[in-house]
């Protein structure tokens, strides 16, 4: 019914993760850019890494849609929760 999946190259994912971590460190301590840019880039890298782990190591990329939904449901809630808390302090 669904397309067949081939096993991903886990070592390659591992290399990605290691390189991204090194990039984060370099970005945080060596790169002479403004704090806000650092913040955005660092968060972007962190989400990228987290997505790699979730999609490949935890196989979310290969699961059925209903299990994927289960994994994804709390994420928007968590984000809304954090944003609601932040909005308290921005007014």
């Amino acid at each position: 019914m669904e397309t067949a999946h081939k096993r991903p190259n886990y070592i390659l994912i591992w290399v990605y993760l290691a390189v991204l971590t090194a990039a984060e460190l370099g970005l945080a301590f060596e790169l002479p850019i403004s704090r806000n840019w650092k913040l955005i880039l660092l968060l972007f890298l962190a989400v990228w890494k987290a997505a790699l782990v979730g999609l490949f190591f935890m196989h979310l990329k290969f699961e059925r849609w209903n299990l994927r939904i289960m994994a994804v449901i709390p994420l928007p809630l968590a984000v809304i929760f954090i944003l609601a808390g932040m909005s308290e302090h921005i007014w």
């Binding site: 709390p74 609601a84 808390g85 909005s87 308290e88 007014w91």
Partner: protein
């Protein structure tokens, strides 16, 4: 189709040869766990009630020695006179026991455990051992909470909502160990509820009997399923907050400590009804909208219940009486909630007895009447016997009358501006004229409490001497009524097959006015899974 090997574990059926301790104490049987929750939460209901009686004594007769209060230690009530610090402990622990250890476990712990596997047709929960742990951590939480009443400085005393920083710092509250035990207990209870919810969700998704489609699932299971989903998402947050509170108390962290930059309102981030807490007014408006939105489904529910009764054939058994009373009381609680949703009015009635009245109409009226209906209803399936109907009716009518005498006048007190959680209303000149009403409420409350003795006696008596119940004493359609009473360990030898929804009453297809979900009529198709597997 993949195999169904994992569900096909053979049920033990009637011959259950486990030792007593595995059968009734450290049991993994969902029914025993449900019954364990029932006994424990009824006990805490009693504890919470006793605490309420002491509060009502002080409010009705401020500063007078409480009858029998002499047995309390000097730190609580010297000479039987309740001290202010003991009073706020009573307030706190009454709320805590009732909400966390009586009503929540009675509604969820008891009936989710007992009913979900029976109603969806499976042998047990998906994770029976986790289920056992869920009960025992709730039990431990209860013990810790109970123990906190007896530590030297007394129990927690910041209200069951535990607003920080009153709850976070000992020098503000005057209690150290009591506050810490409260937090520990709540964390344990949170863990228990998460484990429970995990089980309910997995079981409902994965282990329904053949033919039990989502739309054939009884509403009670739906409600418990949705509650579990909300629980799995909300409880970790609450537990996290309780842990931070605990860290503030024992590690000296500063999460809720304003002088060190902490946020007092952090604790309340999750609460409703906080329009006056000093937050962003626009946020107040959006909260108002969300509260108003709750009113609409509540109204729809009420109309649906009435629609169910419309042109029905109502048999006034004890469960039915309580169910009708539940609707009637839920309406009052729901309507009084509208006052809170209108922010300017809420500003006035917030933290007054109006809220106390509303809370009790929702929690007592909305939950306890439902439970007083549910307990006799499923009593046969739990213990094989029926509870006494005449005593049940006496209990019902007395409860109904005294309940309204207790909680309805609180609306009037709230309109007068009577604050919540005050030890002695006569301190305020504007409240002195209301003392007769406070006395009336207190006396009604004592009578309401006394009435519950009837329930407890009926319960114990019926355990031993009740009329033996047949398979299906109420002529209901659910799967559980196809089992013997009490239901055996492992429930079914082989899981039943479901052919229709649970609410086929007075169906023209059969002469009886009920039609069990498992009864196969000519023309009913076998569910796909069954036809494939067998």
């Amino acid at each position: 189709m993949t195999t169904v090997a994992a569900t096909a574990q053979v049920a033990h059926g009637h011959h259950d040869d486990r030792p007593f301790i595995r059968k009734y104490i450290f049991s993994t049987d969902h029914k025993i766990i449900g019954i364990q929750f029932l006994f424990v939460s009824l006990f805490f209901l009693l504890v919470g009630g006793l605490l309420a009686m002491q509060m009502r004594w002080q409010l009705g007769f401020p500063g007078k020695p409480m009858p029998g209060g002499g047995i309390l230690p000097e730190t609580m009530a010297p000479g039987g006179v309740i001290l202010p610090e003991y009073y706020i402990q009573l307030v706190t622990m009454h709320g805590t026991f009732m909400v966390f250890f009586a009503i929540m476990p009675l509604l969820v712990g008891v009936y989710a455990n007992f009913l979900i596997p029976l109603k969806i047709g499976t042998h047990d929960m998906a994770f029976p051992r986790i289920n056992m742990w869920s009960f025992w951590s709730a039990f431990a939480a209860g013990l810790v909470m109970l123990a906190s009443l007896f530590v030297p400085e007394g129990a927690a005393r910041a209200g069951w909502t535990m607003y920080a920083p009153l709850s976070a710092r000992h020098d503000y509250s005057g209690a150290e160990l009591g506050q810490e035990l409260w937090s520990i207990s709540i964390v344990l209870l949170g863990l228990s509820s998460i484990l429970g919810s995990l089980n309910y969700i997995t079981t409902v998704i994965n282990n329904r009997a053949p033919g039990m489609t989502w739309f054939r699932m009884p509403l009670s299971v739906w409600a418990l399923f949705i509650t579990a989903i909300l629980g799995i998402l909300a409880l970790p947050v609450l537990s996290g907050a309780a842990i931070m509170l605990l860290f503030d108390q024992i590690l000296g962290t500063h999460f809720f400590d304003p002088p060190a930059g902490g946020q007092a309102l952090l604790w309340q981030q999750w609460g409703h009804h906080m329009f006056v807490s000093g937050m962003n007014p626009t946020l107040g408006s959006s909260f108002m909208v969300s509260t108003l939105v709750i009113a609409v489904p509540s109204a729809v529910k009420t109309f649906n219940w009435m629609g169910t009764m419309w042109r029905g054939n109502l048999r006034f058994t004890v469960p039915m009486l309580n169910a009708v009373a539940f609707v009637a009381m839920f309406v009052i609680g729901g309507l009084s909630g509208i006052y809170m949703a209108a922010t300017p009015v809420d500003m006035f009635i917030h933290d007054t007895y109006f809220i106390v009245a509303h809370l009790h109409y929702v929690l007592f009226g909305g939950s306890l009447f439902a439970l007083f209906g549910a307990i006799p209803f499923w009593f046969p399936k739990m213990f094989g016997r029926l509870m006494s109907e005449p005593w049940g009716k006496i209990h019902f009518w007395l409860t109904f009358v005294f309940y309204n005498c207790t909680f309805f006048p609180m609306h009037i007190l709230g309109m007068a501006g009577h604050m919540r959680r005050i030890y002695d209303p006569t301190q305020y000149d504007f409240l002195k004229p209301y003392q007769p009403m406070n006395e009336f409420i207190s006396i009604s409350a004592f009578l309401l409490f006394a009435t519950q003795i009837i329930f407890f006696v009926n319960f114990w008596w019926s355990l031993k001497k009740g009329k033996p119940a047949g398979l299906n004493p109420w002529q209901d359609n659910g799967l559980e009524w196809t089992l013997p009473s009490p239901a055996p360990h492992g429930n079914w030898e082989r899981v039943p097959t479901v052919y229709r929804g649970p609410y086929e009453f007075s169906s023209p297809q059969v002469p009886e006015d009920y039609l069990p979900q498992t009864r196969k009529l000519p023309g009913d198709r076998e569910p796909a899974a069954v036809s494939a597997a067998h």
